[in-house]
């Protein structure tokens, strides 16, 4: 039982990280209306900066120092990712629709190419992150893991609620107005540039936070963790979740649990030939299912009414 709780808690942490990442994408795509394909780049910035800060930890340093470095790494990671987001604000004011998508994709892929080719950043194989969080084995491990799971679930819930609040705030309303009809919104005195600056830094910052947590928890970051497909999948969840933070979190939870559950054949029913086929074809089935869902409900499973407005 201990082992299975350990397993579940570990996946709960990864699930929470994914939810935080997706909350960032909700800000970028759902609120600011930017068709982004480069958000995994922001996550990579957060993760690598956090790994770098963790590397400053001397071996045998005190617990206080570790805690200080942990906080510093989160601040720097989020800040760095937000700065990356600001970098893209300029192009986003000039490029629309598909072109902006390509620009963000190029941004993150070039970033990853630099990481892959820089020996100091570990190149293709990535780097081990010096462990700032206490590690242990046995029952102590479970207690520590439980604390991480609680903390990360709390952070995920916090980010989802914050993004939800943001959507109802003055800024959120302004952003949606700009997204739905830029000309009309600007003629009413809304500052497009400022709104974009804020939303980009917020969205990218959340992605960076997810990156930080990922680096600290998994203990290893590599360019593979931030590939195009991972990013596109999260965008897919956001669309399926109706571009709202809560909906996206639900979509992610369902797909993630389905994925892991299929892998473990754990619904009790999955034995024999049928089980083998399902497990073998899992990825193809999930991809087909997602396409079908998108084709059937292109505005998400629970579309917010505003998303029906023509994009």
């Amino acid at each position: 039982m201990e082992l299975i709780v350990d397993y579940t808690l570990t996946h709960l942490v990864y699930l929470s990280i994914l939810v935080i990442f997706a909350a960032g994408v909700v800000v970028l795509y759902g609120l600011a209306g930017v068709f982004t394909l480069g958000h995994q780049g922001f996550m990579a910035i957060g993760a690598y900066l956090a790994a770098g800060i963790a590397g400053l930890m001397p071996s045998g340093g005190s617990f206080g120092l570790a805690a200080a470095l942990l906080v510093a790494s989160v601040i720097v990671g989020v800040g760095g990712a937000a700065a990356g987001g600001l970098l893209l604000t300029g192009p986003s004011l000039r490029l629309g629709g598909d072109y902006m998508a390509l620009a963000t994709l190029a941004f993150s892929e070039i970033l990853l190419a630099v990481i892959r080719n820089t020996e100091a950043l570990g190149g293709m194989r990535g780097i081990d992150v010096v462990s700032l969080l206490p590690r242990a084995s046995g029952s102590a491990r479970l207690a520590i893991l439980g604390t991480y799971a609680l903390a990360s679930v709390a952070m995920a819930a916090g980010s989802v609620l914050a993004v939800r609040r943001l959507g109802c705030s003055r800024l959120g309303i302004a952003l949606r107005a700009l997204r739905d009809d830029e000309l009309a919104a600007r003629s009413m005195g809304l500052d497009n540039r400022q709104a974009r600056l804020i939303s980009f830094s917020l969205g990218a910052g959340l992605c960076g936070l997810a990156g930080c947590l990922y680096a600290h928890f998994s203990g290893h970051v590599s360019p593979r963790d931030f590939g195009f497909v991972q990013g596109a999948l999260v965008l897919l969840y956001v669309v399926l979740g109706g571009s709202t933070a809560v909906g996206t979190a639900c979509a992610i939870a369902v797909v993630y649990i389905l994925d892991e559950g299929l892998k473990l054949r754990c619904f009790g029913l999955l034995t024999g030939v049928l089980g083998d086929t399902l497990v073998n074809w899992k990825d193809a089935i999930l991809a087909g299912l997602l396409i079908a869902l998108l084709a059937w409900r292109p505005y998400g499973l629970l579309p917010a009414d505003r998303m029906r407005s023509k994009r």
Binding site: V5, D6, M124, G219, A253, L258, E260, L264, C266, F267
Partner: protein, 388 residues
């Protein structure tokens, strides 16, 4: 708005519910995890191998060898191995996930794998944290076993392999200058190139240049034309057979003036298919030669051929030896907890395997000679053995 929140609540409930199902439906352990029972020592074995992807031959062949060994071991009746097998698709992250899964869901006491060096390097710390011994049949990068005492291997390491290749090139073939063609995305390739470089230089050879590519590249035309201009006598290409095969096919006869050297990652029947037989003047270091006169080897080869209808490569022999090593360790272990099996594995000395005599040193690396074989257009020929 009302309908939406109800739907949302349903989804949340569903999500939490299925999480609970995942948590509660896990299989209960059927064997006894802790003690050795009676005469038969039952051990649940997790296999995390690269059965698909660029290292498919590595994982697939070693699995064939391992299965053969398990069959033999279970027939001998002293140890019973129950294999839970997973494919990591040659993806390091997938390997790490699966390691956690086999330990925590399948509750294995010992792991065979991961197959490749990048995958072992990625999963090393996790294996140490989970405290379950893992024995890799095929990962040769020097850093693999540095993660701690739970990681061991039955193969030699790249610093030795590179040294053997360099000594063979310099002493046996009398070649002076070399050019390296390195797969930058592969730790194995980079490590092997490094050790070749330093030994070759210390023996008075000269490295005239270095080129890089990445796993999965398909167009080698520019690389081939550039290498063809090189002054070197030997091209050293420590890469996967899947890339090297395409490279050799595209090179055709443009590289005829060079001697080619490769590592054990060339050792796959796919090399011949992909290269279309365009292999001239090539030698590799590997774990054993299929035409070695040693009776132990010949017995293994004939048994393997009778089961799988193909000749076993070096990885198959390593897979078989991994099984033998585990049997040896399990028989000597004080009890069948992962920690006790780990201690027994780390004290393997002088075990007679197909790939030679296996002794684990203090770094938990197997110390044994490398076999140099000549690669012919459709097969191998035993050349020499180089010991450390």
């Amino acid at each position: 708005m009302k309908g939406k929140s109800i739907l949302l609540r349903c989804m949340v409930t569903l999500g939490c519910g299925s999480l609970l199902v995942v948590a509660s439906c896990s299989k209960q352990p059927s064997g006894n995890g802790g003690k050795a029972s009676g005469t038969v020592r039952e051990v649940r074995l997790g296999g995390v191998l690269s059965l698909t992807g660029p290292a498919a031959t590595m994982g697939g062949e070693s699995l064939n060898g391992l299965k053969l060994a398990i069959e033999d071991i279970n027939a001998r009746g002293k140890v019973h191995l129950d294999l839970r097998l997973y494919d990591d698709k040659t993806d390091p992250n997938e390997a790490a996930k699966l390691i956690q899964q086999v330990v925590q869901v399948d509750r294995v006491q010992t792991i065979v794998g991961p197959s490749t060096s990048p995958n072992c390097l990625r999963a090393g710390r996790l294996i140490q944290d989970l405290a379950v011994p893992a024995m890799t049949p095929t990962a040769t990068n020097a850093g693999v076993t540095q993660s701690g005492e739970y990681m061991s291997r039955v193969c030699f390491i790249d610093p030795f392999q590179g040294e053997a290749l360099a000594r063979f090139a310099r002493k046996d073939l009398g070649l002076r200058s070399a050019e390296l063609i390195v797969d930058k995305a592969n730790d194995y390739s980079v490590g092997l190139a490094d050790s070749f470089r330093s030994t070759f230089k210390s023996l008075g050879g000269e490295i005239v240049g270095e080129m890089t590519y990445s796993t999965g590249d398909a167009d080698f035309a520019a690389l081939i034309a550039k290498a063809a201009r090189s002054e070197a006598q030997v091209l050293v290409i420590p890469g996967w057979y899947s890339d090297v095969g395409l490279m050799l096919r595209q090179a055709g006869r443009k590289w005829d003036k060079f001697t080619l050297l490769g590592g054990d990652a060339w050792d796959s029947p796919q090399l011949f298919e992909l290269s279309g037989g365009n292999i001239h003047n090539a030698y590799i270091s590997t774990h054993y030669a299929v035409d070695e006169p040693n009776p132990r080897v010949q017995e293994f080869v004939s048994r393997y051929v009778s089961v799988y209808k193909v000749k076993p490569g070096g990885f198959a022999a390593l897979g078989y030896d991994t099984g033998l090593a585990l049997e040896d360790a399990i028989l000597r272990a004080k009890n069948l907890t992962p920690a006790a099996i780990k201690d027994a594995i780390n004290s393997i000395r002088g075990l007679q395997g197909v790939t030679g005599e296996i002794t684990l040193n203090s770094n938990r690396d197997a110390v044994k000679p490398a076999t140099i074989v000549e690669v012919l257009p459709h097969g191998y020929r035993f050349k020499t053995r180089i010991s450390s």
